[in-house]
Amino acid sequence: AAASLSSALSELATHYKGMHLSVASSSTLAKQIAAGAPADIYFSANAEWMNYLQTRQHIEQDTRVDLLGNALVVIAPRKEPFAVRWARDFDFASAFAGRLALGDPDHVPAGQYARQTLGKLGWWSALKNRIAPAPDVRAALVYVERGECAAGLVYATDAAQSDRVVTLATVPDSLHRPIVYPAAIVKGRANAQTRNLLAFFSSETATVIFRKHGFTFLGDQRVQR
């Protein structure tokens, strides 16, 4: 499973015997699966890498499910909050000094959502040269925690983990593509056991835990492509 899911999933593991977690970035996991990793279920932090495996026929297509959702929030160091309004006329760039921490928009999904948001609001061009593109959301969070950056755009789940940042505002869903965490059974691994495990992720127990960690539960709406 993707690293950002690790805490929720390790908690789940205590409720489900025989579940082994392998934690890495979504891209690493996807490539491992492509190389024949003996994994049963791939739980990605974004749709792109799931698509990557899907087009290469490495997953059981019909088992793909967008299990979780997440939200993007604006954060600032705890003692330096500022106000944010989601409007084109708001001068976000002048609202804070220094850099804006976000996941590297070139490859980190959170960063891509952030860029979309900023673009839609027309803030991007003013901030383009002031971003601090972090290798992952965690790092972006740390930049803000440490005060290296006066503001950041990260997942709500990550922001909730830190008491050294304040969440200033949640980005409306309409400003970016939906944030989803798809899961699927790896090709050739579909059997009662794995289906059972995948089903468990939608169980009551799981939902509670996922929610506790800040995710939104998207239920079992299958995504067809």
């Binding site: 890495a24 990793a37 003996p38």
Partner: protein, 224 residues
């Protein structure tokens, strides 16, 4: 003091690091001697190949290992014959960290061998020792400080290796989760920071221990 999980991670890391040193020592000694004392065509190519894992980001090394030694990799069928599974196994973690640490080991060993006065090797020959015995009792023994440094570097690098390991051997709790992988995992957990600190303390302590051991051996080696 530590949770069972942390102890497991620690023991695995130790095992991986030890095996990593053991695995690289012999090839490093052979290649080190070859590069230090022999001239042959394509020497620079071999030399370059040995330095590759240093230049490539470890993640790339991991992918390359996956391409070579994965189940669907180039040598996958060969490994299958021996029923040897490397990828996603702790043995894979050994291989990954050995490969990544190999240039360090090799360079130190080579530096050690190069600093041995070749005249002493000739003396051993006139005393009746063949080339192999001479190599073992004179060259290697006098290059021992280099071997020691090489082993230490390789050991420490293995303790800290993450990119290639997580890519090639994955990060499966209890199976391939070494200290750095665990640190990575915990960094992604809200309550992980204290555990990260614990792990860092462990690995620093381990490497200090290794360092003390190596300094002690070096002192014994050098005592004249």
């Amino acid at each position: 003091m530590f949770s069972a999980e942390e102890v497991q991670v620690l023991l695995l890391s130790l095992r991986v690091a030890f095996c990593c040193v053991l695995l690289s020592l012999l090839p490093a000694v052979l290649l080190g001697w070859l590069l230090a004392r022999r001239e042959f065509p394509l020497k620079i190519a071999l030399d370059g190949l040995c330095h590759l894992p240093l230049v490539l980001p470890p993640v790339v090394t991991g992918y390359l290992l996956l391409l070579l030694f994965g189940r669907r990799g180039l040598f996958g069928p060969v490994l299958a014959v021996f029923d040897l599974q490397l990828a996603f196994d702790w043995k894979g973690a050994v291989l990954a960290s050995a490969v990544v640490g190999f240039p360090l080991m090799l360079r130190s060993v080579r530096l050690g061998i190069e600093s041995v006065d070749p005249r002493l090797e000739r003396v051993a020959r006139t005393l009746g020792a063949g080339p192999v015995r001479t190599f073992l009792t004179v060259t290697l023994r006098l290059a021992a400080p280099g071997l020691l440094v090489g082993s230490l570097l390789s050991f420490a690098r293995s303790l800290g290796e993450f990119g290639a390991t997580i890519t090639f051997a994955a990060n499966i709790a209890g199976q391939t989760r070494t200290i750095p992988s665990a640190i990575y995992t915990y960094l992604n957990q809200p309550d992980g920071e204290s555990r990260v600190v614990g792990l860092i303390v462990i690995s620093v302590a381990l490497s200090l221990l290794a360092l003390v051991a190596s300094e002690w051996s070096a002192r014994r080696l050098r005592s004249t």
